[in-house]
Symmetry: C2
Subunit: 286 residues, 2 copies
Amino acid sequence: MSEAATAPAARATIGDSEFDRDTALTRRAPGVYDIDLSAGWTIISAVNGGYLLAVLGRALADTLPHADPFTISAHYLTASQPGPAVVRTDTVRTGRTLSTGQASLFQYDDGGREVERIRVLASYGDLDALPGDVRTTARPPAIPPLEHCLGAEDGPAPVPGSSAITDRLMLKLDPSTLGWALGKPSGKGEMRAWFGLADGRDHDPFSLLLAVDALPPTAFELGLKGWVPTVELTVHVRCRPAPGPLRVSITTRNLAGGFLEEDAEVWDSADRLVAQSRQLARVRLG
Amino acid sequence: MSEAATAPAARATIGDSEFDRDTALTRRAPGVYDIDLSAGWTIISAVNGGYLLAVLGRALADTLPHADPFTISAHYLTASQPGPAVVRTDTVRTGRTLSTGQASLFQYDDGGREVERIRVLASYGDLDALPGDVRTTARPPAIPPLEHCLGAEDGPAPVPGSSAITDRLMLKLDPSTLGWALGKPSGKGEMRAWFGLADGRDHDPFSLLLAVDALPPTAFELGLKGWVPTVELTVHVRCRPAPGPLRVSITTRNLAGGFLEEDAEVWDSADRLVAQSRQLARVRLG
């Protein structure tokens, strides 16, 4: 195409992006929010758990007097589907620096009755009000530079079926955690990637909630196949992320009894440990 | 005293112990439980957060069709006091292998009104029904043998004031995480100990909830003084603990912005990683 014919699309911004549009809710009444869950954040047919957490997180940010999730725990009850949903929030307690709230996401069964998909408990604060004292001893993950990491577009689709979410992400995996895609899982419960949004939107606390659950499961590198559904996910948001891609490092050390934990660390371009999470997930053994 | 005058007390058992008596609730109505919170599980004047979590956990075990907490998250809203309390539980969802519930602990203000202290969201299952496949890659902590570790009784009381809880615990700390007690904090966010109940009761899933929050704060080894109140605590119970003392290892790697995380691992005498937890706590800097 000629240079003049199409101007490059303006890069998306926080507040004006796919992620913002797809996590936006309409307040129907105090504490009651409607949303049409997007089909764009699915892996195979499952709506991504981090996307859902971001939806709930935004509803709570509207309800509570504090805007930033500090610690948010979600129990995933039944599988969500693209389509209509309602989020109901309650204020548990408001304080000077922290407030706590609860939220549930429901969808509708064949008879139009509400079926609860996810319940969340969270405490919110103001990340910009935190003192600048940083004594983090954790170090960023050892991951090759972005240009040496690989995305879905760099090879054959490793997971058959639609993976709509990968179109919305800039996800470049550490080749040393990609053995599973070549039929040679490493046997180590590790997954590392550079992470961004495909339309260029910078990160904010809500895209951090997406980031911790957007990588392929560590189970793949442990030689397990199939779905690894999240039972519960808790995220600590510790800092507003700087612009630029994130580095996400996920570790599993306790695969046992049909369950595993995934510990995620999220590092921003300023080398701050901006979020930490742990989820409990079920695995199919053998 | 003469040998014949006093027979040694029978060792306590699960179901007949201080811990069981002090976490026992009386069901007033479906989903409504009364308890007198014990003064015996306090550090200085604060009722221990793990003891409180065990109280809420036992209420949910009575409410739900599954008996064992698998993943439990608590948000601590206001400080609990010894004395009367009520726990209100709700069933969120019941399934074949997992059920989810919510619980709140309230105490009473001067006017007799209920004030919420803690809210919990938890999923329960049956630990004995889990397959025996164990592929844990985590290793038990490097901690000296119990006889080389030190308890409060081995030195001067490092924390002034009443520490009633220490009378109820067998808590022997790794000397390498005791620098703070000698005015020489290591600067490393680590705390390790052997952990048991003073009356000899073996462990169960509910004493694991106590174990993850019963050690001195890692903040002490980071040179910080003062109270480190828990904002939120999530515990994964992964295995019914074998008899005998536990090894608890706590790590902090992200002290920043006036908050820190404490990651606890709990290992039983069979070298199983029986519980993992993470809490977000507030610190006073400088």
